[in-house]
Amino acid sequence: MQDHPDAYYIGRVKQGEKNAFAPLVDAYKNMVFTLCVRMLGDEVDAEEAAQEVFIKVFNSINSYREKSKFSTWVYRITYNHCISVIRKKIRVIDLADEVPDDRVDEGVMDGLDRLRDEERAHYVQKALEAIPETDAFMVTLFYYEGLDLEEIARITGYSSGNVRTRLHRARKKIYEVLKGLLHKEIKNIL
């Protein structure tokens, strides 16, 4: 747990005190790792990427100006690094997934509520894996970190309108995947 605000540790790191970087790593490692998992879809790759992200953050901390929040800056480095890892892997990102059903299916939520916590977590994980990496990244920042569209746009380089569209599409896709998984579950029980 950090005893001081980020700026305190950033200042000390800038003055050459390397060990002051550890509290910053502790503060952001779970979010950075989660974002890497969302983007790369593999925990081993994500852990390696997250480590590289923090090394990049450390090496370029002198160029961080307090114009934006430190977290925004870290997430932007995370996003850019994951994109470059994906490009190296030459993974094809299919951004044109069509989602036919635009209705929010309350039945999906009822079905999920009846599941055990582990099962529900597994299904949510599956649904997040089913959407494009960038969309999963945005969903995490929007719904978990509570960032607004403008902040996510600054991190990813997309326009806020594009972020809105992607979040909307991701939401529909998540419902669709969850619905499919629940139907399969019901079929298995029967």
Partner: protein
């Protein structure tokens, strides 16, 4: 944009993934191995270096023009009243001024720690 409360609940309940327990130690090991890059600030800025090069070039040109084939040296130029005559009889004016200019240029480059291949880290 309004948040979908159901999705928010699912994402929040799902929590954040956690890296290995020794993640921070591994990062700090890597950090300690890599030297902290500092901003490169040359002692003499770009404008200063250009100015110095122009001055050196001007000295060379003057030394060539006024100690060339007609044997006239800089001290004889009407517009330049400085006495540049040195007591080094074996050295021609051109060579002397050229060597001086080169020496000054090398000294400035060493002092400014500029080098030709260095780039600033932004």
């Amino acid at each position: 944009m309004e948040k979908d409360r159901n999705i928010e609940r699912l994402i929040r309940d799902n929590g954040l993934a956690q890296p290995g327990t020794d993640f921070t130690e591994r990062v700090m090991r890597s950090v300690n191995q890599s030297a902290l890059r500092s901003h490169y600030r040359p002692l003499i800025g770009r404008f200063g270096r250009i100015l110095i090069l122009v001055l050196i070039a001007a000295i060379l040109v003057i030394s060539f023009v006024y100690t060339g084939s007609n044997g006239q040296d800089a001290s004889q130029a009407e517009w330049l009243q400085l006495d540049f005559r040195f007591s080094l009889p074996d050295l021609g004016g051109t060579l002397l001024y050229g060597a001086l200019a080169g020496g000054v240029a090398i000294m400035l480059l060493v002092l400014s720690d500029a080098g030709w291949g260095k780039k600033s880290v932004v």
